[in-house]
Amino acid sequence: MRFAPTEEQAEFRSAVKALLADTCDIVAVRASWGGEVGRHTDVGQGNGRVERAWKGLADMGVLGLLVPEADGGMGMTQDAFVGIAVEAGYAGLPDPLIETAAVAPPVLASSSEPLASEILARIACGEVTVGVGFGESPIVPCASTADWFLILTGSAAHLLDASAADITPLSSVDGARHLGRVNWNADDSTVVVSSDSDAVALAAARNAAATFSAAALVGLSHRMIDMTVEYVGERRQFGVPIGSFQAVKHELADAALGVEFAEPLAFNAAHLLSVGEDATVAASMAKSRASRSSQVASDVCLQLHGAIGYTVEHDLHLFMKRAWALSRQYGDFRTHRAVVRRALLED
């Protein structure tokens, strides 16, 4: 029994943290925002990508972490990725890291199509991004820059060439998301995995999306809390730092408490994915708690910043809006709780 990352995993995670602190700082996150939301302010003409960070992640092997060695990856398991997803959330990295590096590879690796193997190799060296969508006409983040779409319907995983896909751009409250609706009708020609060939891999994809978005939400929550701890330590009213007021302390303590107990659930779900056990309930527990606690963190952190937090000049909104998005993407807190409820009480 040992509930902690291995020493190697912990070191790797710190290296990724350092890389992201360097390549995906606030300026880069802001610059990734697109023009169409830019009417608000100084936000950039970005495309939802932080290329320098992506390249760094590719060089370090993060993108190929879950790609089999035979396809040029590192052939590691999901528990090596979960801490990295937390760091990506913490940094506010807008790129489709979870989708490309953690959801897509196991699905593609379970396919016998030569195309799947080719894409895996290209994921590992950072050449392609994969947008992941669930259902018939999914809304996918980073759709405008995606090279491939992996669309998971109830019965199959389809791999679509993005250059040939019909995409309706949609603007998100988080201007770094660059959402697009993929307009598409399922047809057998694009199937890479079907529920007949590997239902487990399809279910695992859903669980991976929930698990790693939960981990990213944990990171986002930590970031918002850290920013707020710093702010309330500096901002003075009534002659004292506002962080010395007990009402402020208790709100922050509650925000931190929620995240504290969401995190081990995400690590547990990643562990189950690693050992190939059914992670459905574990992933839903993680996503349910991470979604809810990130909402609490975002509410508390905005409130404690006062009006300055209610501007786009301040950085808080960059993380808050991502949290609003991710806490509902891949299932919100109630949807996932209902999964657990059915497993406990209806089966």
Binding site: A253, D254, F261, R289
Partner: protein, 392 residues
């Protein structure tokens, strides 16, 4: 990560389970917070001890079986899953003992620990006073030096002392330096409740049981420790004179953290909650979906607490104990316990008020956010000592 139990740990689990299956009383014992119930629980403690299950993680010489912290966790899980009796020895074995292991002299360990595990000495905790609750550093009970007799003279009043009326010994904080302020000048004393000058008065709690006591100290003499059992039997001091606050903090972190409230306890309660929900559903009781969500929430939180504990134990085993973060545990388990019991009462609906185990459990759960340092105080600690917000 490795979330599997080793073969020897599984074997240990089997052994626990088997013994508990054969020995746990079929009918729940009467509450250990009444004098009749306490006596029955004492018998249970003797049985546990004679079979070597009273304090599994202690050295064999002190009545344990040298189990690892992981095995202790397994034992706790099995213990509560088996519906075994509450531990009336808990204030000794879970709160005082870790402090004796850390601060006691070898002679103190050799003397007090075996008697404690055998339930020969029954300890109660004397922190709170009528005017010092959350503000524990404001305690007024004093210990005055008596050079002539070679010892200390204790006086003052302690209160809310759990099971004080049934215990034999008290550990507590006393002011040895009347000039020193607040946290300074306090000393951690041990004293028998049979000493001359001790008066104990039990009184009722919310649930009606006589679980509380007031302890009045009227010139109680505690001799200096000369290393003999005679002086230790008459009391003693843990740690240095004037350093009581630091010594006491080690007890409180055991109380807030995992020793007092291992996840096994909540897992067993969550399993019973699920069973109740299934029963109500099967009986066709019309339940609002929100009630089933509350049941689900309690179950998820229990799992989260269990996993959090695995992380904590990993930290302890690898030399990075939780420290102030134990305040997260305390807030979480105590509020989880209340929500879990509320969900059960909601499942029971109009029958919730019946005087039964869920209502009893609910009443007890309500004390969790108060004892072991109120949750308001824990939130202060989280904010100041974990997050780093300014104190003033």
């Amino acid at each position: 990560m490795d979330l599997t139990w080793s073969e020897s740990e599984q074997h240990f689990r089997e052994e626990c389970r088997e013994w508990l299956r054969a020995n746990v009383p079929a009918e729940p014992l009467p509450s250990g917070d009444t004098s009749e119930g306490f006596a029955v629980h004492l018998e249970w403690e003797y049985l546990l001890h004679s079979a070597g299950w009273a304090v599994v993680s202690w050295p064999a010489a002190y009545g344990g079986r040298d189990a690892t912290l992981w095995e202790w966790l397994i034992f706790e899980e099995e213990y509560y899953a088996a519906g075994a009796p509450q531990r009336i020895t808990q204030n000794g074995i879970f709160l005082l003992a870790p402090t004796i292991f850390e601060f006691g002299s070898r002679a103190q360990q050799d003397y007090y620990l075996p008697r404690m595990s055998a339930a020969q000495d029954l300890w109660c905790q004397g922190w709170s006073e009528p005017n010092a609750g959350s503000d524990l550093a404001g305690i007024k009970s004093r210990a005055v030096r008596d050079d002539e007799r070679g010892g200390w003279v204790l006086s003052g009043q302690k209160t809310w002392t759990t099971r004080g009326a049934f215990s034999t010994h008290l550990f507590g904080l006393f002011r040895t330096d009347p000039e020193a302020e607040r946290h300074r000048g306090l000393t951690y004393f041990l004293a028998p409740l049979t000493a001359e000058g001790m008066t104990v008065r039990g009184f009722g709690r919310l649930d009606g049981d006589e679980g509380f006591a007031e302890v009045f100290l009227d010139d109680v003499f505690v001799p200096d420790d000369d290393g003999t059992t005679e002086t230790m039997a008459a009391g003693g001091i843990l740690g240095e004179i004037g350093q009581g606050w630091g010594v006491a903090m080690s007890t409180t972190s055991s109380e807030r953290g995992l020793t007092l409230r291992s996840p096994g306890r909540f897992r067993a309660a969550a399993a019973r909650l699920l069973e109740l929900a299934h029963d109500q559903i099967a009986a066709g009781v019309d339940l609002d979906p929100a009630v089933l969500d509350a049941v689900t929430d309690a179950w998820i939180d229990t799992e989260a607490y269990a996993l959090y504990t695995l992380r904590d134990v990993t930290g302890v085993v690898e030399g990075t104990p939780a420290g102030a973060r134990s305040s997260y545990n305390k807030v979480f388990w105590s509020e989880l316990d209340v929500r879990l019991h509320e969900a059960a009462l909601d499942l029971l609906g109009a029958e919730a008020e019946l005087d039964g185990s869920w209502m009893h459990g609910y009443e007890f759960s309500l004390s969790g956010p108060i004892y072991a340092g109120t949750n308001e105080i824990q939130r202060n600690i989280i904010a100041e000592r974990v997050l780093g917000l300014p104190r003033k």
